[in-house]
Assembly symmetry: C2
Homo-oligomer: 218 residues x 2
């Protein structure tokens, strides 16, 4: 709270870098930009040398992947926290970013005061995600925890198989699934066999696990 957060900016657009500098300029007491880089290599060198508190990183870094850079940084300078700054408000990116060890994922529409605040939070060990993006993710997560599924577009599941999968994930037995879909238990078993083949598993619980992992949900 007392010492300013030391930040390194990484973006392959000169304009963005300048914009961020300007945005943060008014908060010299709370955030200090100690360096900036336009490429992954440069960023890696800079971060290793300066050991900043936070690295502000674009997901799209020209040809290079911001995710790889993130993994590299969290591996080499674990005390530095990586915050992605992106225009993509796709949940999927957030998941990947967090898996890559990111400490935050903000959208480029943040304003100065908010950005500063988030940077401070991240420096203190919090993990921050843009509120609206987070809202959507939370809805996803909430549904996930309830096992709501959808026509599993993936894997070439048929309509019927998807329906069976939904109920399977809901924890229903073959008999219960049959009752729910007004089918014979044999038919359900038959669909399940097809399902197991397509999901490459050998039993129902593994099928559930895969369905969740693969995101065959909505």
């Amino acid at each position: 709270m007392s010492v300013p957060v030391r930040v390194v900016l990484v973006d392959d657009h000169e304009m963005i870098l300048a914009g961020l500098q300007a945005m943060l300029a008014g908060f010299a007491g709370r955030v200090r930009v100690v360096g900036q880089a336009g490429t992954g290599d440069e960023a890696a060198r800079l971060v290793t040398a300066l050991r900043p508190d936070v690295v502000l990183l674009d997901v799209r870094l020209g040809p290079e992947s911001g995710l790889d850079l993130c993994r590299l940084i969290t591996g080499r300078v674990p005390e530095a926290r990586v915050v992605f700054l992106s225009v993509y408000d796709d949940e999927q990116y957030v998941f990947e970013a967090l898996r890559a060890g990111a400490g935050g994922y903000l959208l480029k529409r943040v304003d100065g005061p908010e950005l500063v605040r988030r940077l401070e939070e991240v420096a203190q060990g919090e993990t921050v995600v843009d509120p609206t993006l987070a809202g959507r993710m939370a809805v996803t997560a909430a549904r996930l925890t309830r096992g709501e599924f959808w026509p599993g577009a993936n894997r070439g599941l048929t309509q019927r198989e998807s329906e069976v999968l939904s109920l399977l994930v809901g924890g229903l037995s073959n008999k219960a699934i049959a009752a729910r879909l007004v089918l014979s238990e044999e038919t359900v078993k038959s669909h399940l066999r097809a399902l197991y083949r397509k999901l490459e598993v050998t039993d129902r619980s593994a099928a559930i696990a895969v369905a969740l992992r693969e995101g065959l949900f909505r």
Copy 2:
């Protein structure tokens, strides 16, 4: 963006209501407080009568549950969006809030400008969650989609039972779980029986479903 967001405040503490009023007073062009209530009944009446854009609601509403009120409101006045304002930064509450149809979950440490901004976003149909809370949830969600689980603090599961549950949710068979934990299959079955009793289910897939639903994961 042009018309101010019409808000109803609900909290059983006079002080909080006053504080919110004061906080929002400086943003008359963007947010207008059209009413406030101190109890659930009062709130329900007010919301039905005023049909505001957003209802700012405390999770703890004296003896009554903010969640119930939320369900009631979203049922009766679907165009009104409910935003929880809470001191509890527990992910579990957020999940429950969203399941109850909430449009947002903010912590009481928001400042005026941010609160106003969030209210506008919610009024526009976004779902917002406090960034740091959201960060943790996102981590949860990210892990969830990978099937990583934790000592299910809930339900009075023992350490061992939680370990078994984690693997169960990962889709492992009894034999596989036994191998992983270096136990006999019989022991695993014994833990599973206890688990089923505690989770009130009769088979493994239902147990998985409950574990996911209840958030017995990290």
